[in-house]
Amino acid sequence: MKKSFKIEVDCANCAAKVENIIKEIEGVEDATVSFMTQKLSIKAPEEKMAGIIEEAVKRVAKADPDTVIYVK
């Protein structure tokens, strides 16, 4: 399944960095962060999604504290 979130990223390079961080989380099939549209989308199996989102928020907060993911 695919899920999209609003994300606040400060620069294009940060967006690329955040994208890589999320891609490395186990279970993530694909992830994109668009700097221009400020949108994060994650593709992952449904049963793992909740865990992945939680992990993504945690890892991103650590590596790039200026980035905010809005989990609905």
């Binding site: 620069c11 294009a12 390079n13 690329a16 994208e19 890589n20 700097f35 221009m36 590596a63 200026d66």
Partner: protein
């Protein structure tokens, strides 16, 4: 300007004033230093704070950290004015990028400002405004003049003109009357319309378009992948080179001499200033975003940067015939009367005899004849041949040659490749013939020529129609190759055959009206659906959606793609070129920190300005 930007601008201006005072006023050295430090702190405190915080998280290649080291290092070396300048210009650059990004976001979202705020529904006492998302299929809504049509539907009463420019880029308004379909996002110009909703909001045209544009940023181009990968290695390489530059040369040339150390550390610091790749990484998505936004303003929706890029490489363009190059409706092209008859008479006899038929040929005859119909009786239809009828008491035959031969009437062979010929006989005498064909779109010939000018090597017609008709259309329009009598599955294999003959860097695009082309649209490198307003399957299957059915938009889309791509390449090579050049010159001590500031901020500035050009495609 946002609040954040205003605050930053104030800081930049204050720091710049203090900086100018420090440079110009004849004050004693300690005062000057104090002014520099104050200016520095005003403009740099957030960078310093982030540097400390991020380094705590192990982010060594964080740009805040690198800029902090570079500027503080310059302070330590006694280069006070350069230290402040580096940070000042860095912040100016950041501010400008932020401003540019915001502006292009705004200008794209304003042209995508299709979302209706409300829909009017009729209640016992007048109209009530309701959220369009709450309205169900079948509800009757009222659209007042000047309002945006909130949901797709059918007009049940009223006439008006609709401004479709927000969707199609077409400025001529469309006439709308009872029974016509209206599409959400259009603006009702003149009359009051009552519309029966046929699609709920989430399936409406507006919702689909917004969805498509919002998701286009997810499909990233190869250039963007390249540049983010480049950035991933660029910064560490530059930082390690800086480290090596600061340590290795002094070790060998003057390990005990402070001046030598200072000189090499200074060069290393200029490296750090150039190490930030952000402008480079920004300019690529900014360009694609602008290109896609600019195209959507013209009614060309592109589903991602990757398709924009692929469109530049298209060498072969395959096209569907009916609905793409032709209007898909049968029309009387010409009427050729025999001696003793006028064209109007022949048409009127034919239309009157066919008056009770719903066959497409009959419909087009009736349309062409208009009001000039006569009374017809005793209509006899012979399947596969035509009809015999008594019109105003005269025996009229309307049909193919076989019909006239059956009644022993000699007629000329008027067979035509473009369409169907209808023969007419009047009281046992051959009266003339009428050519009925699918009309080629007016702009089709010009569109094919424009494609050639845009560098399309070969145009191919893939048609399910008979060979003669397809070939005639090709000849008429100057299409290079023709494959006819194809079933939908044959189209896919014909496409695959052509694709296998292409080089790696050459792409094939297919244009169709999307009604039964979905498999072909999906299979081609770039699938272009046209006239897609309201056709969900086409919007789903295509990579590029043309909102109206103008063939000329294809060449236009290619032109926009080329321009965007060119700007992206200009930016990539310009930025990398300048950075590498300044790095090399710095290593040999031929530059100073001012050069480094230009290679960082100046390059960013120029790249962003260049990228903004994509918006005005």
């Amino acid at each position: 300007m946002t609040k954040k930007q205003k605050k930053m601008l104030t800081r930049i201006v204050c720091a710049a004033l203090l900086y100018a005072l420090a440079l110009l006023l004849p004050v004693p050295e300690p005062v000057r230093l104090a002014l520099f430090v104050t200016a520095y702190l005003i403009v740099a405190w957030n960078v310093l704070y982030k540097a400390v915080r991020n380094i705590g998280n192990g982010q060594v290649f964080d740009e805040n950290f690198l800029m902090a080291v570079a500027s503080l290092g310059a302070f330590a070396l006694g280069e006070h004015s350069e230290a402040v300048a580096v940070m000042l210009f860095y912040q100016v650059g950041e501010w400008f990028q932020d401003y540019a990004v915001n502006r292009s976001r705004k200008s794209v979202s304003s042209l995508m400002d299709l979302r209706p705020d409300y829909a009017n529904i009729e209640t016992g006492d007048g109209l009530e405004q309701v959220d369009p998302e709450e309205i169900e299929e079948g509800t009757v809504i009222v659209v007042k003049p000047g309002e945006r049509v909130p949901l797709d539907g059918v007009v049940i009463s009223g006439t008006s003109r609709l401004d479709t420019s927000a969707l199609t880029g077409e400025s001529v308004p469309r006439q709308i009357k009872e029974g016509d379909e209206v599409i959400s996002g259009c603006i009702n110009e003149s009359g009051l319309l009552r519309v029966k909703v046929t699609k709920e909001f989430e399936n409406s045209t507006v919702a689909r378009i917004l969805d498509l544009v919002e998701n286009s940023a997810e499909k990233k181009s190869r250039s963007e992948a390249f540049i983010t990968k480049f950035a991933k290695y660029y910064t560490p390489v530059v930082v390690f080179s800086a480290l090596a530059l600061a340590i290795l040369p002094p070790l060998f040339t003057g390990i005990g001499q402070l001046e030598v150390w200072k000189q090499w550390i200074y060069r290393a610091l200029t490296f750090l200033v150039i190490s930030c790749p952000c402008a480079l990484v920004l300019s690529v998505p900014l360009s694609f975003f602008g290109g896609i936004g600019g195209a959507s303003r013209k009614g060309i929706l592109i589903k991602g940067g990757n398709y924009l890029e692929a469109l530049c490489q298209v060498k072969v363009l395959a096209m569907d015939k009916t609905g793409t190059l032709t209007k898909g409706t049968f029309e009387v092209q010409k009427t050729v009367p025999e001696e003793g008859f006028s064209a109007e008479e022949v048409l009127a006899y034919a239309a009157s005899a066919e008056n009770y038929s719903d066959h497409p040929i009959a419909v087009s005859l009736k349309e062409a004849a208009g009001e000039a119909k006569l009374e017809a009786k005793d209509v006899e239809e012979t399947a596969g041949h035509g009809v015999k009828a008594s019109v105003n008491g005269h025996e009229v035959l309307v049909g193919n040659r076989k019909l006239l031969e059956k009644y022993g009437i000699a007629c000329k062979d008027a067979e035509n490749d473009l369409g169907t010929v209808v023969y007419v006989a009047f009281d046992g005498r051959y009266a003339g013939h009428i050519l009925i064909a699918d009309t080629i779109k007016e702009e089709a010939k010009e569109a094919v020529a424009a494609l050639k000018r845009e560098g399309i090597r070969e145009t191919v017609l893939l048609s399910g129609d008979n060979k003669r008709t397809a070939e005639a259309v090709c000849r008429e329009l100057g299409v290079d190759a023709c494959e006819a009598e194809l079933l939908p599955a044959d189209k896919v294999s014909a496409l695959e055959k052509r694709m296998s003959g292409l080089k790696e860097t050459e792409k094939l695009a297919f244009v169709g009206d999307g009604i039964n082309d979905a498999p072909v649209l999906m299979r081609s490198d770039v699938g272009i659906a046209m006239g897609a307003l309201g056709s969900d399957a086409a919007i789903e299957a295509a990579d590029i959606v043309l909102m109206d059915d103008k063939v000329t938009k294809i060449a236009e889309a290619i032109r926009i793609a080329r321009k965007t791509s060119r700007i992206v390449y200009e930016n990539i090579w310009f930025a990398i070129g300048i950075k590498v050049l300044v790095l090399l010159l710095s290593a040999f001590g031929l530059t100073n920190m001012w050069w480094a500031v230009f290679a960082d901020v100046g390059v960013a500035f120029l790249c962003v300005l260049n990228a903004m050009r994509c918006l005005n495609a």
